[in-house]
Subunit: 122 residues, 2 copies
DNA sequence: TTACATACCGAATCTTTTTTCGGTTATTGT
DNA sequence: ACAATAACCGAAAAAAGATTCGGTATGTAA
């Protein structure tokens, strides 16, 4: 990984949460694993527009913070499968609410988006 | 603003939500406004570690997507005050849940953080 | 043994986001 | 009139985060 230059404030709940699942694909990965898609390659196929490398990296971070764990603890990685830890499962209700909000507001946001683009073309 | 190079997928609820309130300070700003801190300068003082410029910019984005609105519509900005729109208020329950999760897991994350730093120092 | 799929990783590059800096304009208080 | 405060903006720079590319290693199956 890389070293952060700017100190982060982990006394703020919002910042803690974003640190753990704020990455671009993290919630998508958590969602996939929750749906039973446990292997990196399958997660990548599910999300599609994310590259394999991103999945690997975000998975590694989720692993390092104990959100997911490797369940096939073979000596060497062959059929790695990831699953949510108990802590990881506590994210699910939050994920659901975020997803619901986004889905409910999707049309509105798309419209706004379109209007802003139109306005910027002058 | 800047032009995005990578197309974004607004058919995914998670992505829509993150587009609207995924910025580093957006939820903090929404929270502040909800607490009755309505003026940019006061929001900045509340958050402190965020610069004035960031507050302005994120506020401008929240405004452009209809999350907040300017309520003192004077001819020229003097005592600008922002408040949440109806749409903006629908974010509050999500914000609360995210904040709660972060607060509940703060100690755990800090510990993990510390362990990871220790491990990386060899 | 050969070919292929899977799991990873390092490093360079590119994109996005945040920060810093130095302004302008207008208002308020003295 | 003058100083101080507030709102806001443009542009450059820095930082963070994501993507691409090209690799290694291992297991599986023909």
């Amino acid at each position: 990984m890389y070293a952060k230059k700017i100190e982060e404030d982990l006394d703020c709940g919002i910042r803690v949460a974003f640190k753990i699942f704020g990455g671009k694909w993290k919630l998508c990965i958590i969602d996939a694993i929750n749906k039973g898609i446990t292997r990196p390659i399958d997660i990548q196929k599910e999300i599609r527009i994310a590259s394999q490398r991103v999945i690997e990296m975000q998975l590694a971070e989720l692993l390092s913070y104990g959100v997911v764990e490797k369940c096939s603890e073979d000596v060497y990685p062959k059929k790695s499968e990831y699953e949510l830890t108990e802590m990881g499962k506590t994210i699910l209700p939050v994920l659901k609410q975020i997803d619901n909000w986004g889905t409910a507001n999707s049309a509105f946001v798309k419209l706004r988006q379109y209007e802003l683009e139109r306005a910027g073309e002058d």
